[in-house]
Symmetry: C2
Subunit: 334 residues, 2 copies
């Protein structure tokens, strides 16, 4: 900027004003300076500007990975969420700083905020770290979490309606005549626990008993579906349907069933979760619960910006939707 000022024969102050389109500066001078700057490929240094203005238009997006499986950034659902967040932030003129951290050390998530790099944090994935998240919120770190609403929660969450998602999936299977519905998912994760509640609710609503033998605790790794089907075989329990807590789980489960000579949906109907892009292209096309990813991105960003402005924000639940495709079709096959 000093260079520009020297070449243009004015002071730094004038250059600054010209570049910020201040009305205080002579139209002709302003145009001359702007032209000069652009010919020199000069742009205001945002770091210095931020320092002076104590402002910042960068939001931190943190994706925790499971220390054992390192799985998260390979999960198509979280990846598509990233895309939605990038879009939502770009649309509002904010930049996105992406970090990955160990899920066991969620407190590190606040680091980009503490060091002044970002104005707030969006955390994709709640895992089991409820307490640590509460501590961050108590420290007044502006943070919004994609996940489930929990009791005594100090931080803001945006999430799908997991209870209703679980109910929709299970009710659909019941209505198609299924009675022995297996549940695949780790209910230590809050979101999965809520889906399981929905599953139980739907069974109860149809006067069906919950058989704990039908619930298989598997993590969100791709092989989970295979493991779960094998576990059911080991237990020797009969089932005619599966509700899997992710599409990946559902797909690998179906592959394993097929290898075992069982037909989908004839022998076993399957409903997945998330409606990732490939669910529609899988064969047979996957029936699933859609999570509204684009809306989620918007909602997360909106909530965070409110928080940053010092306004309190209630946690939000986004509607989930049953997408009926071939693995659990409407008309029961004979």
């Amino acid at each position: 900027m000093a260079d520009i000022a020297r070449i243009a024969g004015v002071s730094k102050a004038t250059v600054s004003r010209a570049l910020n389109r201040s009305v205080l500066v002579n139209q002709e001078t302003r145009e001359r300076i702007v032209a000069l700057a652009s010919s020199l490929n000069y742009t205001i240094n945002i770091g210095a500007q931020n320092l002076r203005l104590k402002q910042n238009r960068t939001v931190g997006v943190v994706v925790p990975f499971d220390s054992e499986t390192r799985q998260h950034l390979s999960d198509p659902f979280f990846l598509s969420m990233l895309g939605a967040l990038a879009d939502a932030l770009t649309a509002r003129g904010y930049d996105m700083l992406l970090s990955r951290i160990d899920a066991e050390q969620i407190d590190c998530a606040a680091q980009p905020f503490d060091t002044g790099r970002v104005i707030g944090i969006i955390l994709i994935g709640q895992w089991r770290q409820h307490e640590q998240l509460n501590q961050l919120a108590a420290r007044h770190v502006p943070i919004v979490v994609w996940g489930a609403q929990l009791p005594q929660q100090l931080y803001t969450t945006v999430g799908g309606d997991n209870v209703s998602g679980g109910m929709l999936a299970t009710a659909h299977l019941i209505e198609q005549g299924r009675r022995r519905i297996a549940f695949f998912g780790d209910i230590n994760l809050p979101e999965v626990a809520q889906r399981y509640r929905g599953y139980c609710n739907a069974l109860a609503a149809h006067a069906l008993a919950v058989d704990p033998q039908l619930r298989v605790s598997v993590s969100f790794i791709p092989e989970g579906g295979t493991q779960a089907v094998q576990e059911l075989a080991r237990r020797g329990v009969a089932y005619d349907a599966i509700f899997a807590c992710s599409d990946l789980l559902a797909m690998t489960a179906i592959n394993t069933l097929r290898d075992a000579g069982r037909h989908v949906p004839a022998d076993v109907a399957v409903v997945g979760y998330d409606d990732i892009a490939l669910a529609a292209y899988y064969h047979p096309a996957l029936s699933t619960i859609r999570q509204p990813v684009r809306a989620a991105g918007e909602a997360l960003v909106g909530a965070l910006l409110e928080l940053v402005d010092g306004r309190a924000v209630a946690s939000a639940q986004l509607p989930t939707e049953l997408i009926v495709r071939a693995t659990a079709p409407l008309k029961e096959l004979p």
Copy 2:
């Protein structure tokens, strides 16, 4: 920092030194200051530090989207590349600033660099913007592009070996007895053009003619596979194999073939490209060309950091690998 200094009864300089673990400060004083800072959740403001030190540990990752299709961030391959980059950068202690821009205005990609936010740019996706990329490089913007090596190229690329990828796929199909191999992809894109060259090479090596009727120009949208299969039907050309330039294209093509009553691989063998996570879980499991995503992330980051250090970096080609699965198996089915 001034606060800490006041409370600790020392000067800002001492606090700065203590927090940077300088040996110049009394051990006891240092520990006292560090403890005080951490109890106050104080961390050095990186923006101010960067300004003073004229340093920066942030790298810009830019993902262009096609103005018409807006497709890129939904493409599983690019998304997984993002994950690999995030990992590679995190491992080296760099942060990642993610932006999406219109592919038609690639020059905007340099903005985070021009404004001093990042030390260099990694661009995922070369598209057709060869000239604009050359201009950026000519301006000495440190930039590394995931894509194909092109003649008169001033910028650095890291990419898969597309020619060899095309050859591997095509040769495999020929060796399994296929003679009429369709090619799905838009050869206006440099990477696809190279894959097509590999395809032609493989045909030539087996003394087979290249039939232009077998090449269908489709973009990387999911519906591309469907469109391409329909286009071949419209043309009325016979074929017994498909080499598709992405796994998504391959999958939707297979679905469309199936709807038309043609069997994969019996009637039509199919090889995809990328080896996205779901290729293995598709049914039938997809034969494909694997692009080494993790290595790509490492290579892109490594190359960029070299550039930033002022060293010249040659473009790199990463090996591609044929993954034989069910859609184009080793033993030809009768």
